[in-house]
Symmetry: C2
Subunit: 335 residues, 2 copies
């Protein structure tokens, strides 16, 4: 793969110009461009610039309204809701966070429910923003159904990730967990299908719920839940939080995140922000330090988020090597 090294500012600028060229308002494109640069900085190239041409396609086909104006409401003293109005998730979440952060600080805990939304990209990017504000951030986002229930074989819930971000020194999270409910990301199975390569047993199941090594068969069947029924439990937890509690569209009824068919998916996101001083009386930071220090003291042991933190520190200095083929697609969109 031919690559070119770009600074984070260049990645943000390219993303912004492509999204605007495709018909996105600058206000809606900006948060998505910022997130794209941050995602590349974190080393998650599958969800960085590679997604920009897809986002642009979705604005053009109407899966996302690039000109949407998200609407925010305070529905209870500690609850904010945002109707994303079938626009991008990022501006809707940012609008919500502008109210959620001060609210969590005064109330001790507060929630943000986002509906009529879209794929929010890397969930941990959003919970990190809460951690940067000194809050513990919990996040949930749902997706079109691809995991079957225990004892069944037809998909009923998405690969539905949850995330928790814990405030650390200097703006980077002390700990960041961001994990989906499936054994492997669906995008990995799709990649193998495109490449005509088999998948390992345990990644996906056929339409009768039996193991398969054929990615195309797996994509017509279901994704294997991580840890069996406990993975289904995690996906259901996330579905309840991100779809049912927000009044969004369930994974069984949502249009696909990939391709141009089906209109807006109208899925949801749910965030909880907690002031650790209010709940712990001040002991929180020392307990987190004791936990992370004990883990790092073990030879070879690592914490979720360690890889992202390390990559980010390097990327700020050196920039990020990005795929030239992706850059060419983006430059074509910009015109």
């Amino acid at each position: 793969m031919e690559t070119r090294t770009l600074s984070l500012a260049e990645i943000e600028d390219l993303s912004l110009r492509a999204l605007v060229a495709a018909g996105t308002s600058v206000e809606n494109a900006r948060p998505l461009a910022v997130a794209t640069a941050a995602t590349e900085a974190d080393g998650i190239s599958s969800h960085g610039l590679a997604y920009i041409p897809i986002y642009c396609e979705h604005v053009i086909c109407g899966k996302v309204d690039g000109q949407a104006t998200p609407k925010r409401e305070t529905t209870a003293p500690s609850v904010i809701t945002v109707d994303a109005a079938t626009g991008f998730a990022h501006p809707a979440i940012d609008l919500g966070f502008d109210a959620l952060v001060p609210l969590a600080r005064t109330q001790g805990i507060a929630a943000l429910a986002v509906n009529n939304s879209y794929n929010c990209g890397v969930l941990g990017y959003h919970t990190q923003q809460l951690a940067k504000a000194g809050l513990v951030g919990l996040g949930f986002t749902n997706a079109p159904a691809s995991i079957a229930p225990s004892g069944g074989f037809k998909p009923v819930v998405g690969t539905n990730p949850f995330s928790i971000a814990v405030p650390g020194a200097g703006g980077d999270p002390a700990l960041l967990i961001d994990q989906s409910a499936s054994t492997i990301a669906k995008s990995e199975v799709m990649k193998r299908a495109r490449e005509g390569k088999p998948i390992p047993v345990g990644w996906a199941l056929d339409s009768e719920g039996q193991p398969t090594t054929d990615p195309a068969v797996g994509l017509k069947g279901s994704m294997a839940p991580s840890g069996g029924y406990k993975g289904v439990g995690t996906a259901l937890l996330v579905e309840l939080m991100a779809a049912a509690l927000t009044g969004a569209t369930l994974g069984i009824d949502a249009s696909p995140f990939s391709g141009t068919a089906g209109g807006p998916p109208r899925t949801g996101q749910f965030f909880i922000a907690i002031d650790p001083i209010a709940t712990s009386g001040g002991g929180f930071a020392a307990l987190v330090a004791r936990l992370t220090d004990t883990i790092h003291a073990q030879d070879g042991a690592r914490l979720p988020g360690d890889g992202r933190n390390k990559h980010r520190i390097q990327a700020r200095i050196d920039g990020v090597a990005v795929n030239v083929a992706t850059l060419e697609k983006i430059e074509t969109i910009i015109g």
Copy 2:
């Protein structure tokens, strides 16, 4: 195994009398006795009456202060804390819920942080109380370390369960998830060790992190996380919520829940109660019904909590068959 069938009222009464005979105040014994009957009703006999002799032993040896008075505080407009004062978790949680339920109804979301606490038994019992009050209940509880970090082999977090309970018709939850972060409960490995039987590969690891079929070796090593690193992630999520956010004792520093050594474990519980009307604008119940109906419509498919709901309905009518050996132990305590 010889059994005798008791009504739920008889189970509650026996539990109460044994706990009081061991030195527990009636106020502290009552919530534990009620939970024990409910746990037997739900068919979770491993955590029902079988635990009463252990609880009594722990009062006698001082691992639990049977006469403790939990202290409740409102530390922020939407946050309640309870210091369990090294007493039982159940009265501390009940005291917290008395304030949490009305607070969540007015605020939309509210949190309860419990520290200086003890093993809370079946976590889903507690979240169910929130669901009975019409709220979505999320719960987290930590335990002495038995799961190693990714890349390491020394335990750093407990088998740490999370739970979510969703309000349903007639007081029973529409959906109840209550799952630990390990492949299998530690009590199952302990049972095999007592019986001198091997364990399947995948249940536990030796002290170098290698698979073992010897339960005694596994107990000296670590419990296998469900789904590999994602099980570690779930255990860490719970540790952050139940211990760090409550100012309780981390699993690495907590005394064991079993045996009489080490004094009070001083672990923690964290609960979040959410008013689904405030977050969803009223769509919540219909979305939950659509999700659960779709799953039940599949041949053989089941939801977490289905088994407990079914057992409970039967137990209210028929009572529960309990182990006579356990009953004899309890009757000896009562004297």
